[in-house]
């Protein structure tokens, strides 16, 4: 009896305690003077956050006196998703979140973003044609428009003019094909001090899903069927395309393999003249602005059987759980519209998705621009978004198998077939 009482006492004390700790916190919906609070979660670095607090938010609040913007930032992209998921799981989700092509698929397939199609149909002040179509398509999933892009860049070839001059290699141009590219990369790969170790490479073939799909497409292959029902990476032309890209380091040795990067990132390799060419986005200018001791320029990616490149973007999505979709939409429009575009220009953040600003001199004649800056913008015509199926998690996990190929341990065709098998199994629901 006494034991029972003790247990009872424990239950009486601790259960409310646990419940109190686990009690969902309620988010503040309105300010004291009745303004709607819209919480915007983003992963701005401190310098970006300053731009937001100094320009973006005051400008918006001045033109929308009934809305108050609350910033919530993860300060950089590490931990971004973990924090967002915690906010959602803790039932205090933000109203609008910053998203990029990297983590968009994960959320898109879970259906937590508001479909903007009906919203746009109602809003006469908004015109979809003000934006680059292919970039907008990047935020579409199964017919739904799940956000508005704010900035983007295609991937193009960035090259070091000084190294090209030094080895008398003609600069890359739009007529370059794979042979020409490989020939140049070979000429630019050098063991400068003669110790038997390569000191500078022609190219860097990073293992990234916003790079290698371009080479599969260039060769006429594909990754997924248009209806996302079938993986096509085991088709001979797909395998051949990816194999060429990986062979650049494992077979032709014109790109660093594994530790040959000496721990440098591909951008650092380019900036320290350890690599003559890299495939990069216009976002890199911000990094390059920190110090480039040589002249450099931009050229289109070499064309294979067809001209194509990948692109990357950043944008914002409204969470379906928001209690104020109308106000959130106003802020979303603002972020992607002219004002947001100008802010992106000020921050040197690639191209705004808003056409009028992107194509203005403000961008193309910026102090950061090299002579052929416009290549990035022109490439949007043949730019493609790396696709993802609804089973994104399994798709993503299957991709880790390619690591061994880049290290030269596993044959590319074998992993392509394995990948296709894994992805098809995930799509058909055999694995979950």
């Amino acid at each position: 009896m006494k034991k029972l009482l003790t247990y009872l006492a424990i239950v009486i004390i601790f259960v409310p305690l646990v419940r109190w700790v686990a009690k969902p916190k309620v988010r503040q919906e309105y300010t004291k003077d009745g303004k709607v609070i819209i919480e915007w979660y983003n992963y701005s670095t401190p310098e970006f956050l300053k731009l937001y607090t100094d320009y973006l938010v005051p400008e918006f609040e001045a033109s929308h006196p009934d809305i108050k913007i609350r910033l919530n930032s993860s300060l950089g992209d590490t931990g971004y998703d973990a924090k967002l998921l915690t906010l959602i799981a803790g039932k205090i989700p933000p109203d609008i979140v910053h998203i990029t092509q990297q983590n968009f698929p994960f959320y898109a397939v879970k259906g937590i973003f508001l479909d903007l199609n009906p919203v746009i149909a109602r809003d006469k002040s908004f015109n979809l044609n003000d934006y680059f179509g292919p970039v907008m398509d990047g935020m579409r999933f199964q017919g739904k428009l799940l956000g508005l892009p704010s900035d983007f860049s295609t991937i193009a070839l960035v090259y070091n003019k000084r190294m090209f001059d030094k080895y008398h290699v003609p600069y890359p141009d739009k007529n370059w094909d794979w042979d020409k590219f490989l020939w140049a990369a070979k000429k630019l790969t050098r063991d400068t001090d003669g110790d038997g170790v390569i000191d500078q490479f022609g190219f860097v073939n990073i293992n990234s899903y916003n790079r290698w799909p371009a080479w599969v497409w260039m060769n006429g292959g594909d990754i997924l069927s248009p209806d996302m029902k079938k993986c096509l990476l085991d088709k001979p032309e797909s395998i051949e395309g990816l194999k060429f890209y990986i062979d650049l380091s494992t077979k032709y040795h014109v790109a660093p393999m594994g530790a040959q990067t000496l721990g440098q990132s591909y951008q650092e390799m380019f900036m320290t003249e350890h690599a003559a060419m890299i495939a990069d986005a216009r976002y890199a200018y911000k990094t390059f602005a920190k110090g480039m001791s040589f002249p450099w320029d931009i050229a289109p990616m070499p064309k294979g059987k067809q001209r194509v490149t990948t692109f990357i973007w950043g944008g914002n999505s409204i969470l379906r759980s928001t209690k104020h979709p109308r106000e959130a939409w106003e802020f979303l429009k603002f972020l992607s519209g002219k004002e947001g575009a100008l802010l992106n220009v000020r921050a040197g953040n690639a191209f705004p998705a808003y056409k009028k600003v992107a194509m203005s001199d403000l961008v193309l004649k910026s102090p950061l621009s090299p002579p052929h800056d416009k290549v990035f913008l022109d490439a949007i015509e043949y730019g493609r978004q790396a696709p993802f199926p609804p089973q994104f998690t399994e798709f993503n996990q299957a991709m880790t198998k390619f690591d061994g190929c880049y290290l030269g341990y596993t044959p590319v065709d074998q992993i392509c077939r394995q990948f296709t098998k894994d992805v098809n199994a995930a799509i058909s629901g055999e694995v979950w």
């Binding site: 686990a22 170790v197 530790a259 721990g263």
Partner: protein, 304 residues
């Protein structure tokens, strides 16, 4: 009944005792016991945080039997444990024996050997990444160094360490030795708890140094060894930081430890249910190993 009756004083003492441990108790119940129970429930569910929890019965456990990475990660963990535990135990004990001498400046040496266990984990891991760098790293530079008076290097083509699927695990095992300071400290305390008289007695019996070690030190140190053994088995099964920071589980899953794979399932692939099921399997494995330990212990552990 009457025997169990506590005096008033004892009652007050009991209440005070509970008060003293209550910060820990509350912390345990809220931050550990709650999640532990939650994870047991979740292990029978499918949950990705964003969509509602879905009950799937034993599916997570069935899936584990078909998942090649579960097998691979368990093998990796066993490989690591079977090499790192003996090396670490012997390393820590021998260091402790060396540092148990009565020499001038011994405190300095003790501090030096213990410092690695105190310094921040991630920073030292980054340091080790530099050491293991195949081209620039300290280790391979030393290995490539020429043998004195010749032009022949010690090893012309040293391993790529963390970049090589066959050498990544040995690299992590070598690195684990850096942390022997923690075990060493416990051994040192154990060694100093051995009464001097026993050594004197053995001396009178004509024991030499080796006999003293095997017949006095080891038996009297056995509770400490036992403690360290259990802790290092648990520790090796939960090894995570090194692989998470240094290799991410690669190259080619060579360092994908069980707990790392669990973490990746939970926080990278957001399969909370599956990760919970994995956690319970790990708990059962460690529990069985520890129970075996306790079963065998009376045969070799001597409490004074």
């Amino acid at each position: 009944m009457g025997k169990n009756k506590l005096t008033k004083r004892q009652k007050v003492e009991a209440v005070q005792g509970f008060m003293f441990i209550s910060p820990w108790m509350i912390g345990f119940i809220v931050f550990a016991a709650g999640p532990v129970i939650a994870s047991l429930v979740l292990s029978f569910c499918k949950w990705d945080i964003l969509t509602p929890v879905q009950f799937v019965g034993l599916k997570n456990y069935v899936k584990m039997t078909n998942d090649p990475l579960i097998k691979k990660s368990l093998t990796n963990t066993l490989y690591y444990a079977s090499a790192a535990i003996p090396l670490g135990m012997v390393g820590a004990l021998s260091t402790a024996l060396l540092l148990n001498q009565k020499l001038k400046g011994m405190r300095l040496f003790r501090t030096l050997f213990y410092v690695p266990s105190v310094t921040a984990g991630v920073a030292t891991l980054l340091l080790w990444m530099l050491i293991f760098n195949p081209e620039l790293g300290l280790l391979n530079r030393a290995l490539r160094h020429q043998i004195p008076f010749t032009h022949i290097p010690f090893i012309a083509d040293p391993p790529k360490w963390l970049g090589d699927p066959h050498w990544a695990m040995p690299a992590l095992i070598i690195m684990a030795l850096w942390g022997v300071g923690g075990g060493m400290l416990i051994y040192l305390a154990g060694l100093q708890g051995i009464p001097e008289e026993l050594y004197e007695a053995s001396l009178l019996d004509g024991a030499n140094a080796r006999q003293k070690f095997w017949y006095v030190t080891i038996p009297l140190l056995s509770p400490t060894i036992f403690f360290n053994l259990i802790m290092s088995i648990i520790g090796s099964f939960q090894v995570f930081n090194a692989a998470f920071i240094m290799t991410g589980g690669g190259p080619m899953d060579a360092t994908r430890f069980y707990v790392l794979y669990l973490f990746q399932n939970a926080f990278q692939y957001f399969r909370m249910g599956y990760a919970s099921a994995m956690a319970w399997l790990l708990f059962i494995i460690i529990l069985i190993l520890t129970l075996i330990q306790f079963k065998i212990a009376p045969k070799w552990v001597h409490y004074q």
